[in-house]
Symmetry: C2
Subunit: 346 residues, 2 copies
């Protein structure tokens, strides 16, 4: 466990700034006295792009690399063409820092609204592959903009990339009480990638005899997310399916305001990056309505990744207690951050 | 309106046989006396593949082509390697007969269970592209089965293919009371295909000034499916996103037992094919537990496509009335079919 924490902070766009401020507040409150927290803020996102045309210059990528971890708020603004910041900044970071484990826990906390009737018990983790699949940027277009245009998107999958994320998922499942791992893909249609995923999954499974496994097609998985979410423990899946499933998971567990994520480079060759699953929500930016809980839970994942397990648990317990004690009175971003900072310190 | 109906029937696997029998029962009951119904059954699916190694020989494809429409039960069995029947039979039919509109209505009928609390009003239609996207079978694998394997899946999208399905969706939205069309894609990541879809969508939109349009990323769309499904009227989307979204839609509208679909070739150059969204459910095959309603609703889509609008509505009304009158006593496949046959005839 390191006795200093050198954190890069990318507030980004919209509500990013506001929620990150609360994340840092809670982080300062929870850290042991003897851990020195240093933060460096990076001005990246829509404003920067409008000003300079830059999304993520190499110099800043090099600088970001020097940190223990990255806390990111949200990236994206309607004033920027779709894809520019996503590909040029967010995905560039995930790929450059080899964040091959995109970790997204889903838990239905007490006293939180779910659109599902009957309040099923929900407590699962999605291990989403983060550096391959249809996210690689392969593909292109021919005769662009004409009636004869052909546009392709290539999902690239390697045994190297699949095996490492599948291993990570098995290791996570193996230390959870239910020890269950579900592979989600679409191997009846995407046969090349799907069969490779399945084959590697089955091979690694042999090393984890205590882990129960199953396989679901992605379409069927969405059904179980709403009819039987309690059946899931750990899920491992490809980059795009993971993107879709984790938004759905967030929706059934009380909304995107509570969904945390870690873009993890498990070996620690590069800094891992933690961010709420939600976007920049420009419609509520500056109103104090943004819920910083997802960012604060992302800080817990950050602490866990860096070996501060006790502090991670303190944050998660504080969030559970805070949600349980709510009386429905609307609170501002700042008030929620304050309440959680008090709880983790106390 | 044709005064004869020359129907190809592919019962397929598992519960396919049982549900198709009920579909034909209701079809016979609803058809006007003077419409001559001729059916020809095709032995395709898992059993045939085990026996002969064939999925869909050219001679049968040619023969199928002679019919006015195809009614399909379900394809797939765990004894057949994943992908063999899907690619070799079901998708082969969709591609060979240029079923570029995969039409999937979602409606929450009265007195049906939904996993969603508060029973939102749900009545939308997904127009799923059926002949492109990641379903084209492009891609492959290199160094297959070795630790150095690379597997790709190529999503192929053409302006030709996108424009025709987008036009179909606008035309459908334009005659519905709410006149709303949502494009679902992931154009912030799949920029080549996504931008082409969006550009064509925006262009066609200009010809339909009365249709309100919006755009959602596929991940965000899944959130609205469970938190605000009443916001959707018509959705147009790519083949894979449509696959995922329509299973989720089926789940929130009372389950896959009620979800109908049409694989439509709008110009009628080839026979269109109608099938329940559900699979072959080998676990309940032969038990009489399969709900034939999805198949019967698919027969309604078939009739509408062939110009028998009044008969289509009769079936849909009968299903609504049948569901409303249910008292919860379990009914067999046959009993449900009988009840609906009586209603449409009466
Ligand atoms: C903004 C977008 C590129 C991103 C993704 O698709 O991964 C987001 O949806 C997420 O899930 O983090
Ligand atoms: C069986 C499978 C190939 C098919 C698909 O993916 O289209 C099914 O899921 C469907 O939705 O009709």
């Amino acid at each position: 466990m390191s006795r200093s924490l050198n954190l890069a902070v990318i507030p980004g766009d919209g509500i990013g700034q506001e929620v990150v401020a609360q994340g840092l507040k809670v982080l300062s409150a929870v850290l042991p006295q003897d851990v020195k927290l240093e933060t460096q803020e990076y001005d990246l996102g829509a404003k920067r792009w409008h000003r300079t045309g830059e999304t993520l210059p190499d110099a800043e990528l090099d600088s970001l690399r020097q940190h223990d971890a990255i806390l990111l708020g949200a990236i994206g603004d309607p004033s920027v063409p779709s894809g520019v910041l996503e590909r040029g900044l967010l995905l560039k970071l995930r790929f450059a820092f080899d964040h091959y484990v995109n970790l997204r826990p889903s838990k239905l906390f007490p006293n939180t609204a779910t659109p599902l009737a009957g309040r099923p018990e929900i407590d699962f983790v999605v291990v989403r592959e983060g550096t391959e699949g249809p996210y690689t940027g392969n593909g292109g277009s021919l005769r662009t903009g004409t009636p004869a245009e052909v546009a392709t998107e290539v999902s690239v999958n390697t045994a190297y990339g699949v095996e490492r994320v599948v291993r990570d998922a098995f290791a996570r499942a193996d230390v959870r009480p239910r020890r269950k791992l579900t592979l989600v893909h679409k191997n009846n249609v995407l046969v090349h990638a799907g069969h490779m995923w399945k084959k590697i999954f089955d091979e690694v499974a042999r090393e984890y005899p205590a882990v129960t496994t199953d396989y679901l097609h992605v379409d069927a998985a969405t059904i179980f997310f709403v009819t039987q979410p309690e059946r899931f423990d750990v899920i491992v899946t490809d980059n795009l399916f993971g993107d879709i499933l984790t938004d759905l998971a967030a929706a059934v567990t009380g909304g995107i305001g509570l969904a945390a994520s870690g873009n993890i480079n498990p070996a620690g060759e590069f800094p891992s990056m933690f961010e709420p699953v939600h976007g920049s929500a420009p419609d509520i930016a500056g109103t104090g309505k943004a819920d910083p809980t997802a960012t604060i839970l992302s800080v817990a994942l950050l602490l866990r990744h860096l070996g501060h397990e006790a502090e991670a648990v303190r944050i998660e317990d504080a969030v559970a207690a805070d949600l349980a004690d709510r009386d429905g009175t609307p609170r501002t971003t700042d008030e929620i951050g304050d309440a959680l900072a008090v709880r983790v310190a106390g």
